[in-house]
Symmetry: D2
Subunit: 345 residues, 4 copies
């Protein structure tokens, strides 16, 4: 049994980690933290957890938590994460950090898009926690930087195309749409029910902070610097990200040929499902699970391929991928705690 | 391993049975039937099932299915169920029937609310599959009549009050609200997205077919005939039933005293959660699970108690309760296949 | 042209007042106030208003506003309203107050359910602004207390029954469901999209502050004190209230006979639509309008009548009724500014 | 007063035409047709219309309707429209056709994307009913082909860029998202509430029938043939289309400079609102109205401009634009019947 702590248990990512962890056969949850709800049982914050996890929230005291935990999931905002991650590592814990603080390799890029960083020396050690790409490194990692939700959906959608140089990477345009839980549980006007329901909008065009993360990973796949157009939108649903990716094909591959590359690339991946030709994914069919469903269409009129991927932003885009990483770090079966059938409707 | 068949696999109850059955450690799904989708793999009907169940739909041939199955779940409309249930029983199968055809004890009542019945001789054998009330009978049953969704929410909400004669049963008023999956997957104008979304209405006031079923079971608890007001409403959500039950108290019990009765009555029930005083249930906190959450308030101004219960209509209100019944019938752990943490948000 | 000011323009009631007022042929909006958004044009707060109203928000300075306005709509929280209403009246303005501060006739009742009152001397002057009941008094009023949203839906639903003594008023049970805009635009966790969407719950059972307001008005209709059970619920829709009202019939009237009473009572009312026998109202069919649609069913099994009414909580339940009151106060055509066809779907 | 008929009144476009027409001061609705609901008053099909329009549906008999009507709105499926439009014209009626049957100039293109055409001789006469582009021709037209919903949102979004040759037209990628009313009121599984709610998907990638219509009009603006990528998606909302349009800039214009072009181009247009720099449109802010709101951002990193436009698909995307066209055809004030303030929330 691995003893795990969840730092930041009162947000949507926190409760999702708890939902998944209580169903994991080899995990013992030893601590949950929340500054705002100190002393409150998590099942009073989230009655859904009643009967499954009734731990009370503690303050985030690194020494106290580290004394009990083998692994810490830090489900904190960026900046807050870097305040505690080095301490957990120093105290001998392994860390899966769900913030953006250790995802980028380059300090200047981080500081351009976020703010100054207090432990850039960890950048070289932190492993980008996308199992489909960095499985072996994750197994040995002390610090895993769990990928962002949008980047997960985009990188998985484009990996086979870039690995095989099938597209012109400069032509990449990514139009993403996210459910509202992606905005977190922080209270702000824009997240109110009446502001979101029956609405739809784009936001942060040209300057969303997931852009450098996507470009970093796509660039590594391409072998050169990649500069993308990335436009996120806010969907009036609780969960789900759908990314529609446009790229110009270098050669005239057909839909069937491209699907073959995808089938091969992901043949052994437990959480990627490639749809047959003629079918397109729907966020409704991955809800609550760690799956990434991918479909694609070649449009011979324009010479472009359009790849569509869907994930549950709180699972494959956050907590589920974090568990997957933990499973790899401890040599567990990769699907432990994640063998969940999507709930439809 | 029990070999089970799902008759009527292309409806929402059918897909929900499959979602739960594929996660059950002691079950082997040997057949799925659908007249409309004969020959189509269920995961083409419901892509959510891809990787979990890819059986093709067969026609509903009783002999063919019975030759393979130990247990048949009949997820068919009423009337269609009675056409096949006697055959399955005769062929040696056990049956959990999710239709209304064997829930009522009285042929005249059935025929008044539904239509004529072709196998009323089974009424005396069929066990009403509410484990919290008929656990021992279910264990030995050959034919279990799985309760309706509204009745499940109402009977569990009122059982402790009636068992202890705490209320005037003639005063019972039940105001229920159901998510749209309760209307099934049949295509009809009233179930279109634009007709339901941002709308809300009552329907079938005074004549909903679940009324006699509720009255039958409440009457048995009360020890005399009960006549209720029951008003269902259609909620613009996928899943969930909330029933608000009003009753005049016979004596002046307090909220805390009544909650004690509930806590005691359901202390050993794995799927009933009684909320502490001051909290009220929300359908969002039982989504995807077999839980029934119950809260209540005594209003001393009016001398009434208001009990509020919530379930997921497709789980505790249908497929989950059916699995629970199967677990009882085969001596499995009652929670097998049902140890699901609610997904929130 | 009447010069009107809207005090509290940045809430949902405020923007709804502006939506309706800009379409009113005889109104000139002379001021909008918002403490939070001082100096900001209302169309920056609500881009929907662009091209219709681009006034900047002012602080709520009674003397400054009163110097310009003939009529002030106070769309403020209770308690805040009583801080300014006496000043506006003293300065010669007429006031339609959308808060609860002047709706109750009895100071002790107000102070029991709310808090101490600083201008109870206005209680006897304030007219309860339900045109269907107090039309003549409203015409001459200096201070109109605009009814609450739930009370509007309930009082209109029950008026014919109580005026004709057709029901036992002690048997009244009212089960109401409101869209989320009823909770206002204040930012709080419970109003976040992900907390409300796909959820449903009851709240404030037995102690909602609209209870004494409903009881006051029903009591006046009945001719004696009335004590009701009132249970509000939160619907995952933007707009709409549906109230399901249960009462025991004194004599055995039929549905058709009762509908006759309703048709007669509301024959000349421009905003009440009585549905034919066999039809029930839906909040979707009054969206954006000042209509109250009412349907009813007599259940001979229980001897009860079930009356269902629907309104748009922001229109007939707030801003629309306020305009109706203004129209009466100034001798305008009652439907001016309110001739809106419901938008469906 | 113009006497108008609505052919196809029982769909969402039909009821929206009626909603707008009953508020038009110079229109007399003389007939509504519906094959499916012959003899049924439209307010029984759509109770929202009660008190506004209670005409009974007639069969679509061209001679009978033409004898009464000056103008016919044909709100019929493509193919059905061409069966009656020539007859109405021959009988002396003017026609605003809301189907796709007369939108394309080229018979071969029409027959490639749709089916064979029985009155291609009308192609040269039919005016594409986008007032912002063909105002003068519409005024004199006998037959107006009302634009598709997606094309309206896209053409308005791109007109200033193409008219001034600011972008490389070959780079155009259009990612559109539509509310579910765009799928019509026909009953099909994919339009059921539970299939759409909490879901999101792309569909018809590379082969949506609005593609040639968009390309025709963009090509005319560009002065040469244009070939676009167009991907529609299904949004779980009732109303609204948002189109995100990507194009490579030819010169390095800034956001402010481009917005200037837009402000100038649409300065006199009553239904186009250009948002200030830094703001992006939301479908929620045009709901129920004939507005098209447009925002844009230049991304200097990629050299692309991203233009986002929103409309209500049933109003500016169908019925509202049809009324606008009628106003032009009869010399009415362009905004008659369309002076509607968006309802928010």
């Amino acid at each position: 049994m691995v003893k795990v702590a969840v730092a930041g248990a009162s947000g949507y990512t926190g409760v999702e980690l708890l939902r998944l962890l209580v169903g994991h056969p080899l995990v013992d949850i030893c601590a949950v933290t929340s500054r705002q709800h100190e002393g409150v049982p998590v099942n009073r914050i989230f009655p859904s957890l009643t009967g499954f996890c009734e731990l009370s929230c503690e303050p985030l005291d690194v020494d106290v938590i580290a004394a009990r935990a083998d692994l810490v999931f830090t489900a904190l905002p960026h900046k807050s994460a870097m305040d505690v991650v080095p301490g957990f590592l120093a105290a001998g814990c392994r860390v899966v950090d769900l913030s953006a603080d250790y995802r980028l390799n380059d300090q200047a890029t981080y500081e351009h898009w976020y703010q100054s960083h207090t432990s850039p020396e960890l950048f070289s050690e932190a492993i980008y926690g996308l199992p489909e790409r960095y499985r072996e490194q994750i197994k040995k990692a002390r610090l895993v930087a769990n990928p962002g939700c949008y980047p997960t959906s985009v990188i998985l959608a484009l990996t086979p195309l870039l690995e095989h140089q099938l597209i012109d990477a400069r032509s990449l345009i990514i139009d993403s749409k996210s459910g509202t839980s992606g905005a977190g549980r922080g209270i702000k006007e824009g997240s109110l029910f009446c502001e979101v329901n029956e609405g739809f909008k784009a936001y942060a065009i040209g300057n969303h902070r997931h852009t450098p993360e996507i470009e970093q990973e796509l660039g590594q796949l391409a072998g050169f610097e990649v500069c993308i157009s990335f436009t996120p939108h806010l969907l009036p649903v609780n969960r789900g990200i759908l990314s529609t990716c446009y790229a110009s094909l270098v050669k005239g591959h057909s839909t069937a040929e491209l699907l073959d590359f995808y089938q091969q690339r992901y043949a052994d991946e437990p959480f990627v499902r490639i749809l047959p030709e003629g079918e397109l994914p729907n966020i409704a069919y991955v809800r609550g699970t760690n799956f990434c469903d991918i479909g694609l269409v070649v449009d011979p009129r324009t010479g472009r391929v359009i790849v569509v991927s869907v994930i549950d932003n709180l699972v494959k885009g956050a907590a589920g991928q974090a568990l997957h990483n933990m499973n790899l770090m401890y040599g567990f079966n990769e699907t432990n705690g994640l063998e969940i059938v999507p709930t439809f409707p």
